[in-house]
């Protein structure tokens, strides 16, 4: 699971050069529209568009698939539960359970949409440095307090993952083995407690260090945005594709075809 989502933000591609504010706003709208699609052909089209965006962004496939495979794993149960639990006529029976094609169609549509949205999110946050993304978020009128806390948290996550690994090694070297019993759970409780106490003490020091460097509760940055005509055109393109997707989803050709199996 790649935690440093902006590892390839330095790669040069049209998406990396695109103004982060416009990219975030328009592709954000795009993701919302994809999430609201209902027909399978439109969802598939959205997935193809998302894959094209990934190709355009120049993010290595390996990096993207590393993250996406967890999402797929998470969505796998849908393929089993939905067809077997869909109310209505069953096509045939599997182990005594009714199997409905409509349920499978629903599951495929859900997974396709979810994949498309996750891929676009990768494009948005993978093609700009994380701090630049956050500054862009602030320019898009996201409250400054929220943006600052997001930046802090992102920073601490790496610190704590490292700390957790150290502590895990320490525990294992003393012979601790995770088992399915109450003792393990209590030890995990103490483990989390230690992590909390240590991080609280760290907070104090960090806060004092920040104050001594002149922190006054504002986010100051050197990041400057300058949107050219090309940025705006790309944004308009993204919005119109999103709107076209959702409109043809609701009134388009495929709605009639949907009545049958598509």
């Amino acid at each position: 699971m790649p935690l440093d989502i902006d590892r390839y933000a330095h790669v040069d591609s049209p998406l990396q050069r695109w103004d982060t504010r416009i990219k975030m706003a328009t592709l954000g709208l795009f993701m919302l529209c994809v999430a609201l699609l209902e027909t399978l052909p439109m969802a598939a089209l959205a997935l193809v568009l998302a894959l094209m965006l990934i190709t355009l962004s120049g993010l290595p496939w390996r990096f993207v698939s590393d993250g996406v495979k967890w999402v797929l794993l998470f969505l796998l149960p849908f393929f089993i539960i939905m067809p077997l639990s869909y109310p209505g006529d069953a096509a045939f029976h599997v182990l005594g359970l009714p199997f409905a094609w409509e349920g499978l169609r629903l599951a495929v549509a859900i997974v396709t949409k979810a994949l498309a949205v996750v891929l676009i999110a990768y494009v948005v946050f993978g093609s700009s440095r994380f701090d630049v993304s956050m500054v862009a978020l602030q320019r898009l009128k996201c409250p400054s307090l929220v943006v600052q806390m997001l930046l802090f948290t992102y920073r601490y996550i790496f610190v704590f993952v490292a700390e957790m690994k150290r502590k895990d090694t320490a525990m294992r070297s003393r012979g601790f083995v995770k088992k399915s019993n109450a003792h393990t759970l209590r030890v995990m409780g103490n483990f989390v407690g230690t992590l909390l106490v240590r991080s609280f003490e760290r907070t104090d020091r960090i806060y004092k260090a920040m104050l001594s460097k002149g922190y006054q509760g504002e986010l100051r940055t050197n990041v400057r945005f300058a949107a050219g005509p090309l940025d705006v055109v790309l944004g308009a393109l993204a919005v119109s594709v999103a709107v076209a997707l959702i409109v043809s989803d609701r009134v388009g050709l495929f709605v009639i075809a949907e009545r049958g199996w598509f």
């Binding site: 699971m1 935690l3 989502i5 954000g28 993701m31 919302l32 999430a35 609201l36 969802a43 996406v68 967890w70 999402v71 998470f74 969505l75 539960i81 077997l84 639990s85 869909y86 109310p87 629903l106 859900i110 396709t112 949409k113 979810a114 949205v117 996750v118 946050f125 307090l145 929220v146 600052q148 806390m149 997001l150 802090f152 948290t153 601490y156 996550i157 610190v159 704590f160 993952v161 957790m164 995770k178 399915s180 759970l185 209590r186 030890v187 995990m188 409780g189 483990f191 989390v192 230690t194 992590l195 909390l196 106490v197 991080s199 609280f200 760290r202 907070t203 806060y207 006054q216 509760g217």
Partner: protein, 215 residues
């Protein structure tokens, strides 16, 4: 545990966003800049804890600990959980961007419910009340989230009845795991650094003794 992208309808997603923004605004009122690093640190711990796996029988579950966030941060637990959900959506694609609202409501609401249960401990005089109420709070956090999850799935109609039931049933083992972990953690924090706990009353007894002397 998250509601995945692409399941819920527009109105439910919109309700999620509206509810989250309203509760976040309320729960972040009067927030000092001093609190910014503190809330962020707990958010990071909450985020990292979701990477810890605990074996349960033949399978394993990962900790969620939204109840613990409530126990530690009190009302500020809501923004903390919301930030955690946002980062999980950005970094992992867990859940997704359009379901940030409903997922924050589900997990953050659980954290607030856990805080409510946790505060009830002041009404009891038990030897291990922090452990007991910590465990109750940990369980409550997940129970609330599980109920919201099932309700959200039910809005999709009959096709999702079984899925909603399965989702709720899957929460039971996780709830027990979390209850024990949060209870142990609350007991540990009480011994080691009690002022970390939300609503911890420091020196209450000393103060009442002083007033007794005066009268």
């Amino acid at each position: 545990m998250h509601i995945s992208e692409g399941i819920l309808a527009g109105p439910v997603l919109a309700t999620g966003f509206a509810g989250t923004i309203a509760i976040a605004a309320l729960s972040m009122r009067n927030m000092d800049m001093e609190e910014v690093p503190k809330v962020s640190v707990i958010t990071a711990v909450f985020f990292v804890a979701s990477l810890i796996h605990v074996p349960v029988g033949v399978s394993s579950v990962h900790l969620i600990l939204n109840g613990l966030v409530g126990v530690v941060l009190g009302v500020r637990a809501f923004p903390a959980v919301m930030l955690g959900v946002i980062l999980q959506a950005i970094l992992f694609g867990h859940g997704g961007v359009s379901v940030i609202g409903i997922n924050s409501l589900m997990l953050g609401g659980g954290a607030l419910a856990a805080y409510g249960v946790w505060q009830l401990r002041h009404h009891f005089k038990l030897a291990k009340r922090e452990v007991i109420f910590g465990a109750l709070a940990g369980g409550t956090g997940l129970l609330f989230s599980g109920l919201v999850l099932s309700l959200a799935l039910l809005t999709k109609g009959e096709a999702f009845f079984v899925t909603a039931g399965a989702a709720l049933a899957a929460h039971v083992p996780v709830m027990i795991v979390e209850a024990v972990v949060v209870g142990a953690c609350a007991g540990f924090l009480l011994r080691v650094k009690p002022d970390v706990l939300a609503g911890h009353r420091v020196g209450l007894r000393v103060k009442s003794a002083a007033t007794n002397d005066a009268t």
